[in-house]
Symmetry: C2
Subunit: 429 residues, 2 copies
């Protein structure tokens, strides 16, 4: 007999004998009857035990034991999804499970985050934990789909690199056959180099930050959704692609993870056809900040988001033109005023979601920019080679997957959106 | 004026003014005319310069300079793709490029592999190098598509791990905030753990091997296509999923990278509806090897592949039942004879392509297996927790992306299928 999934039961003809398999999510023992709630990857199924022999046979099987159940499908409007399984034969597929460290059948996990993370191999099984990751999984697919449809090539760049280029601090060192190497903080230099090969590239992969901060926003390893494209006019062309990527990620959530959205009660934002843009100088005026302020404070970001919602009905706002002195060396200046940059931060619901912009593309500009930032050219040798041999105007952006999911779901801690987070204090499980 | 891509030119009405942009792939100067061959992400376009002013204006632009060309589309049966661009205005988008280290316009790159790898930021631009990676890119997409259609959830597991579990040797160590950590050799333990959460999971991500061997088959970092699924009867169910993944990868190559297949002259194999299977003991008999031989030699693998082609018309052959003593501790034994395992190697065109099989799923079996292999339980704490709390019968496989592409294309060295390979001697570019 083929396995029937929980989600297929409501469409099964009543009276049919079926086999369902999954985890014993909950056992409820009443006076004359025991209910077993079975959990599989598609949902829950209710099994009703009345026969004394069957009751005795399953008595030793604790919650989380994996079982196979054969029984008869019967309609019951008061059962989950309107059906239940009667006259069951229950066969364990694993040994009887030990009681889980946290009760998984409760609607919410009644434990603090450290306990949940310490026991992630089991607590991730809770429907709310699963749902968080299902949104992440859908996000990756939506991102790729949107970019593939626009002629982007997926790349996979090295995570072990020979130089710590982008920022001297916050890198992990690796013993590479006796030599000192580093874990890549981002695919930035490689994705730019590969614009020279494929014009339009994206990568979905791990990045590593030796973050010395122990906050709800920092983890040491996360998934970065990176894109870079050539033959642009300026950063506004990058913003258009970023918009399509975000729209693709939201569409994928609706299409691939509707159950996760329901479980978490997520209210998805609408991405406007055109994301409103405000210049950094104008943004400072709007929040009544001094005009030489080099950055926006969290309070400023919240105020600007509120302004965009009010003025444009948009939960997204791009702030362009950030001061050059606050941007990395490869940032392209604003053509008519080099104090400002052709880059932007994207604000979403009051918080910075991602950064993007146009990069320098002329070899001589790179040499000048490295000299101005006091850096030697040697560690950038391969990168500079691409520019010596012709690179088009280009730019790109990066979205932190876990941050995206945390923002969408309103999770307090980015660790809730990662399967097995790594941080200053956590290297296991 | 919008940009027209090279591949769109043949469908453009002759006489239309267009703008094309790309790299100056080749300049051919004849007595009265100069041909500029432009390369963009879709192909090549021929631009014809006759006007002395235009000739003079573009004289200083060397190969690989990025240019924008406006001109008139004209049919010319002897031009590439049957069209060319006349009366052009050529504007550089980059500074004049320095001559590339290897001539990129020649049909094949005339340099040894070390030179090509040293100059990868530029040599990857060659159409044959690009085509190799386009097959890799299509492979990743085909793999994901095939598994997503079968209810698999994409996962992203930690690459920085606290214990070097799978094999003590060949791991890279990381300085993790002053603590010793390791780069994951595979997502094996995590993907099994996550079968407990999602039942069916896959991951496409980097794995790290501190391979002390300097061979054409070994690189220190590569992309692993990993899958793992629960509620199986045995390893044969895993082989069915592996078959569908390979078929998906081949379909994606045909659909997403037809140009790459043409450029490389690749003859794609057909995956039979059912991959033929031979038991290890029978395989030894077929190649007349001693019956206590613990492994198959390369010559044996070639002979068995030839046998499968002859007997089943199949370029794929699964050899099941490998001796338990040669398999990792989590391997499930053959139910009726524990000398053998419920695992397989998949041979493709005479070489081992991938390994898969059923894993143990009972907590007590893991404790016994670790004890038998002389390992302590401590480093496996999180992994063992999953089994203590109920895990279904499960199994999986892993495909090395670069190895797959190398085998498909007949490349001599797996480095040719990787964008910026890392090995014993190479950490840059």
């Amino acid at each position: 007999m083929h396995r029937t999934l929980a989600a297929q039961l409501p469409a099964t003809t009543p009276g049919t004998r079926v086999r369902v398999e999954g985890w014993l999510h909950r056992r409820r023992t009443l006076a004359s009857v025991t209910f077993l709630i079975l959990r599989d990857r598609t949902g829950l199924a209710q099994v009703v035990l009345k026969d004394p022999a069957a009751l005795a046979g399953s008595a030793g099987l604790g919650e989380e034991t994996v079982v196979s159940v054969e029984g008869t499908v019967v309609a019951n409007p008061s059962a989950p999804a309107g059906v239940e399984i009667l006259d069951p034969t229950v066969s364990p597929l694993s040994e009887p499970a030990e009681p889980p460290p946290v009760e998984l059948w409760r609607p919410s996990l009644a434990a603090g985050l450290p306990t949940l993370l310490d026991n992630a191999p089991v607590t991730l099984r809770h429907p709310r934990s699963r749902a968080m990751w299902q949104l992440a999984s859908a996000g990756m697919q939506g991102f790729r789909r949107a970019l593939t449809a626009q002629g982007f090539t997926e790349i996979a760049t090295p995570k072990i690199v020979g130089a710590s280029t982008e920022s001297g601090a916050n890198v992990f060192t690796v013993d590479y056959f006796g030599e000192k190497a580093y874990l890549a903080q981002s695919p930035q230099l490689y994705k730019q180099t590969l614009v020279g090969v494929f014009e339009r590239v994206f990568e979905v992969g791990p990045v590593f930050r030796a973050e010395p901060h122990d906050t709800v926003r920092h983890i040491a390893e996360y998934v970065s959704l990176d894109a870079e494209l050539g033959f642009i006019a300026d950063h506004r062309d990058v913003l258009v692609v970023l918009r399509s990527a975000l729209a693709g990620m939201l569409e994928a959530a609706t299409e691939l993870a509707p159950g996760a959205l329901r479980t978490l009660g997520v209210d998805l934002p609408k991405v406007p056809d055109e994301i409103p843009v405000v210049h950094f100088a104008e943004a400072l005026r709007l929040v009544a900040a001094p005009e030489d302020e080099p950055d926006l404070s969290p309070a400023h970001e919240r105020a600007l988001s509120a302004w965009a919602r009010e003025r444009y009905g948009s939960e997204f706002l791009a702030v362009e033109g950030y001061p050059m002195r606050k941007r990395p060396f490869y940032t392209h200046p604003q053509t008519d005023d080099p104090r400002w940059s052709n880059s932007f931060d994207l604000l979403f619901r009051g918080l910075e979601l991602t950064t993007g912009g146009q990069r320098l593309h002329r070899y001589s500009d790179y040499r000048a920019a490295l000299a101005a930032s006091g850096q030697s050219e040697a560690p950038y040798e391969g990168y500079l080679q691409a520019f010596r041999h012709g690179m088009p105007p280009h730019g790109g952006f990066a979205i932190g997957l876990e941050r995206w999911v945390a923002r969408l779901t309103g999770a307090e801690n980015v660790r809730q959106a990662r399967l097995f987070p790594r941080d200053l204090h956590r290297l296991t499980p």
